[in-house]
Symmetry: C2
Subunit: 204 residues, 2 copies
Amino acid sequence: MPGHKAPEAIRRDEILRAAYRVAARDRLGGLTIRAVATEAGVSSGLLLFHFESKDGLLVDLLDWMLAHTIVAGELHRRPPSDAQPVQWLLAVVERDLAHLLKQRERVELFYDYWVLGTRHPVIRRLIRRALHRYRDAFRPAAHAIIAAYPERYRGVSADDLAGVCAAFIEGCATQTILDPTRFDAVRAMATLQALVLPPAAVVS
Amino acid sequence: MPGHKAPEAIRRDEILRAAYRVAARDRLGGLTIRAVATEAGVSSGLLLFHFESKDGLLVDLLDWMLAHTIVAGELHRRPPSDAQPVQWLLAVVERDLAHLLKQRERVELFYDYWVLGTRHPVIRRLIRRALHRYRDAFRPAAHAIIAAYPERYRGVSADDLAGVCAAFIEGCATQTILDPTRFDAVRAMATLQALVLPPAAVVS
DNA sequence: ACTCTCATTGAACGTGTGTTCAATGTCAAC
DNA sequence: GTTGACATTGAACACACGTTCAATGAGAGT
């Protein structure tokens, strides 16, 4: 029984939330128009009335996820307080890593999109921007390190250091998702500290 | 025109090679039974005669890839020679990273399988084993480091250190594939060296 | 009341897929 | 030469998916 029900923005949001529920449960492989429509309690035709195509739904869902669920890096903007810059950076890495491990479904979904982005330019651009923002969260601490030890980090930019931190976390995520029993991210973090910090500085 | 042509093992290998060609070109999303059959110059029926299903083909292709194209870690078994253990490990990481960057298609395909493995237990096990072997390549150097600095790496196992190395490389791979213009793995490697090595030890 | 707009439906279409299977040709054995 | 085993074919089937569209009904404006 057709009829008016909700203005466009609300309907779109309902559908996007349903799409996220489906994707979190069945991943992108199980994200079909019919499945989302059923989950949202609407018809499949309505879905393509609000989103021009499945492609559009995928892009808008990623957009929605990046805006709603991936946390911003604002927590990391705190001043270094009294900690050494290297320990500051490690603390940021540790917090990000812990946060990532708590939302495994979301990270798996993100990797689905990552793979999709390999062939899909629009999604690729979205994921790129998200990872750039992610890396930016490390930049203040990274910059403090380089400023504190200019001769040691000659030729190394804050972006390079942030990229290495991001690589470490992403690698930890891939290994944790694939092999949660054998790979322990907490031990990896402790190992990184032992690698980077001089022995005397290891307090924690 | 049907008829005998080749014994089973040869036909299977022909088909697997064709499957790899298709997958390297069009990824797992483009790997259909018909596409592989056409590439191999056989009928689709024959493909399912030699492989029980598409699932079987996928698993056997991954098996074949891991046996034929992913290089073993034997190159890394060389003795430490006169280098310091930390530099030895970094050299192994650097070589592995360089090797990975040279075979982008293969790595992308591997990530396709990684995502597939999230839902497919058999593939998951295969990829797990492959990554374990990958990590093992770092263990000799990792062990040498821990043996050389027992107090600094108290509570850290060689496996932990190897896992961190693997995480770094995998993270570099994901960033390079997604954003080759902005992420420079060579700079990341130099950054890692600056992070880990004491200033005086940076020779290269 | 009447009309007009448009959100909404669900059946239908086309396509691509994995899979099946009866028919067929080739080879080896006897 | 005949037989039997079997690799090989390609048409056909069933299914799921994205997409289209004529029909429908609810609300807004007058």
